[in-house]
């Protein structure tokens, strides 16, 4: 019988086995590195990770690599995270999209969810937070 730990391991392993592609969008290089590190700590170490420094670059990456999961900051130059989400929806993207941001106001969280974001992770975050947020998405 599987316990919760086994189940988590299997789900993360499935993500690894299916070569999941994750796009990390943040204008801070350090923060992109930290998101990568946290993904590895959360067990997503086998996933293919690509990066973008703003929404415009993210759109290019979406076209180039068709990511399964997009983790986006909110405030960025050129095109912010909400504008990126709207543009992706307009283009019919099926990638799972969520925010990893220092924005934490309820209004913004509501706006994000109304626009189609599936999760909202507030900085600073932990590997546990990543795991508990992303695992249900991988299950579905």
């Amino acid at each position: 019988m599987l316990n919760e730990e086994d189940l988590s391991g299997n789900i993360v392993k499935r993500a690894r086995d299916t070569n999941m592609r994750i796009l990390i969008v943040d204008d801070s290089r350090a923060m992109r590195m930290i998101v990568r590190r946290t993904l590895r700590q959360a067990g997503f170490d086998g996933c293919a990770e690509v990066e973008a420094a703003n929404g415009r670059e993210a759109l290019d990456q979406v076209q180039a690599v068709a990511p399964d999961l997009i983790l986006s900051d909110w405030n960025m130059p050129e095109m912010n995270g909400l504008e990126l989400l709207r543009e992706l929806k307009r283009r019919g993207s099926s990638a799972t999209f969520g925010f990893v941001t220092s924005e934490s106001s309820p209004d913004m969280q509501v706006a994000a969810l109304q626009e189609g974001a599936l999760f909202f992770i507030t900085k600073p975050f932990t590997a546990d937070k990543f795991q508990s947020t992303l695992e249900p998405l991988l299950r579905s």
């Binding site: 801070s28 290089r29 350090a30 923060m31 590195m33 930290i34 405030n75 220092s102 934490s104 106001s105 309820p106 209004d107 913004m108 507030t122 900085k123 600073p124 975050f125 932990t126």
Partner: protein, 178 residues
């Protein structure tokens, strides 16, 4: 550990809290962000208006109803900026010794400040990305005034394990409901 200040501050929504709770809140954010047990202890104030080699950050509410000002010494800027990306402490110490902080360390510190604004945020109070003033000449008059005659103030020495200590001052903080 940081002790409670005798001074209290009235929050925008009628709540009352002590300004001394802010440095521990900053330490908590830094600990979570840097993955290190960042600690702080209260220290004596120093003359902010004449302080050199310090960086000033203004955290203003979106509706302009409040503004808190933080002053960081170069050491804290450099050590936190380095710790965020696990840059060797030696690099940060070199910049501090040279009397400036720039490049990746400053870029990283800016991101840290952006995350630290949650300390000043609360129900109905959305804090904008902080404005950063790197030199005394850049500081606008109303912030210079706040620094020379703060209504409330707390000073703390922040220790980032593996890097070192730096100084943080917070003035005119509007407290969150408690």
């Amino acid at each position: 550990m940081i002790q409670q200040s005798p001074g209290t501050v009235h929050g925008g929504q009628g709540a009352i809290a002590t300004i001394a709770t802010l440095p521990p809140a900053v330490c908590k954010v830094l600990s979570d962000l840097l993955g290190r047990n960042v600690t702080g202890k209260k220290v004596a104030p120093y003359p902010l208006a004449s302080a050199a080699r310090r960086i000033v950050a203004a955290f203003e509410a979106e509706d302009a109803s409040s503004m808190s000002v933080c002053v960081f010494d170069l050491a804290l800027v450099a050590y936190a900026g380095a710790a965020l990306a696990m840059i060797p402490a030696g690099n940060a110490k070199e910049q501090v010794a040279a009397g400036h902080c720039e490049g990746v360390l400053l870029e990283n510190f800016t991101e840290i400040l952006n995350i630290c604004r949650q300390v000043f945020q609360g129900p109905g109070r959305h804090i904008l990305s902080p404005r950063l003033y790197l030199t005394k000449q850049e500081i606008p008059p109303h912030i210079a005034q706040a620094l020379s005659a703060p209504k409330t103030r707390v000073d703390a020495e922040i220790n980032i394990p593996g890097y070192g200590c730096g100084q943080l001052s917070i003035v005119n903080a509007i407290m969150l409901p408690v």
